[in-house]
Amino acid sequence: MTPLVLTGSAWVEDRPLFPPLRLELATGAWTSLLGPSGVGKTTLLRLIAGLPTGVRFEGRVEGRRPAALMAQDAGLLPWLTVAQNVALGARLRGERADPARVRDLLARVGLGDLSERFPAALSGGQRQRVALARTLIEDRDPVLLDEPFSALDALSRLRMQDLAAELLRGRMVLMVTHDPGEAARLSDHILLLTENGLTAQPVPATPPPRPMDAPEVLAAQAALLGRLIGAAA
């Protein structure tokens, strides 16, 4: 599996969004993209996903391939059951989803009993679990996460981070986040995007997912937050 490399720069009409930069996603590694609001993090993710961005992008994405996407909005279709939502990709491609695999993945995200429920009956954390199962069943590299946990309460967020780290281990992951603590817990690589471009940030030496209260995680979180404040100023 080749790495995925985006090179180029982008403008919103005539205003530069980000200068020429190079973003590489390594095989089997979790890369977090951190940065202040409006700097183009989600635009980068959408360029890699091949989604419309509304910006003028000059550059290219090498090694682009079908991705799996999970966003802040779980994006569950209210008229489909949990199991049908997990199998959405197959449904949309006119394929048959393997019911055993759907059951297995729902069990792995801890929703084995809720497969026949409709999304309206789920909590925010449960919806994101369904979205995670729907992402996993696609079996894609890269997995693109666009602030997937930011709408959750603190406890659900920690649990979802652990679950995602466990189930996405070994995959090429790009996570856009504005939470330095989340990046410090989960990442193999951390990139900071500012209007000056992309810079690699130090990552704790221990393997992810790291405990939220480990000293090296707290130190990394504080350092990242400091740079974020510096970037926003």
Partner: protein, 244 residues
């Protein structure tokens, strides 16, 4: 208890109506009281029932065809934006022409049978259905469309599996609004030409100064419209609720 308040309101209004007539000494050929209307409802029950059957048939046929046309127009406009752009002025103009002006022409073209009444009903019902459904088709949450694209869905499947189901609640609103207008369309059609249906009965009664029968027709038309609206609203709620 839920109905107590509206029933009281209606009873009070009917009482006021009867009271005004008695106190002002209005002759029944100008304004019949509720008792006179009730008497006319009973005396002409056979004519009214027959006319109601006729009008209800026109309402159901016109609403069905109008809804189908509205759905087709919305889908076509949404799937083929260029066709939609060409169609839009025509649709808009069709709604600016007063239906009262169009009804005699339709009678001229389609004769005195049911066809022109159904045509008027179609003209009056398709527009709310088309515009509400089209609006819904254009409001699919971006997150769902992103997912579909990343998952490799074809345009056709995005339409049938996501955009159409996501627009069903909006379609439901359009259908419910159209259900209010459908009886109006049928009655206008009957006014203009023909000898059957509640509209025709009303016009004839008016010509013979049978104002009590005119009012009886109005009562039946109102009841019919309310019942039809309630039926459509129920159907919409039962079928489309889970898409909301």
């Amino acid at each position: 208890m839920k109905f107590a308040r509206p029933v009281l309101t209606v009873a009070a209004l009917l009482g006021l109506w009867q009271g005004v007539i008695v106190l002002a000494g209005l002759p029944p050929f100008l304004l019949p009281g509720p008792l006179a209307v009730a008497e006319a409802l009973w005396r002409y029950r056979a004519d009214l029932a027959w006319a109601t059957l006729r009008t209800a048939t026109e309402i159901i046929a016109g609403f069905g065809l109008g809804a189908a046309l509205g759905i087709a127009v919305a889908l076509l406009t949404s799937a083929l934006p260029r066709v939609g752009a060409a169609l839009r002025p025509v649709l808009l103009v069709s709604q600016t022409i007063p239906i009262f002006a169009l009804a005699p022409i339709l009678t001229l073209w389609l004769g005195y049978g049911m066809a022109p009444k159904i045509a008027v009903t179609v003209l009056i019902t398709f527009f709310p259905v088309a515009s509400a459904f089209l609006d819904g088709l254009g409001r699919t949450p971006a997150a769902w469309l992103d997912l579909a694209q990343v998952m490799g869905a074809s345009r056709w499947r995005v339409m049938t599996r996501i955009r159409i189901p996501a627009a069903l609640p909006a379609l439901g609103i359009g259908l419910t609004i159209a259900a209010v207008y459908a009886p109006v369309g049928a009655v206008i059609g009957e006014w203009v030409g023909g000898s059957e249906g509640l509209g025709a009965l009303m016009i004839h009664a008016n010509g013979r100064m049978r104002i009590d029968l005119v009012f009886a027709c109005l009562v039946v038309v109102t009841g019919l419209a309310l019942a039809f609206h309630a039926a459509v609203a129920r159907l919409v709620a039962a079928r489309f609720a889970r898409y909301g």
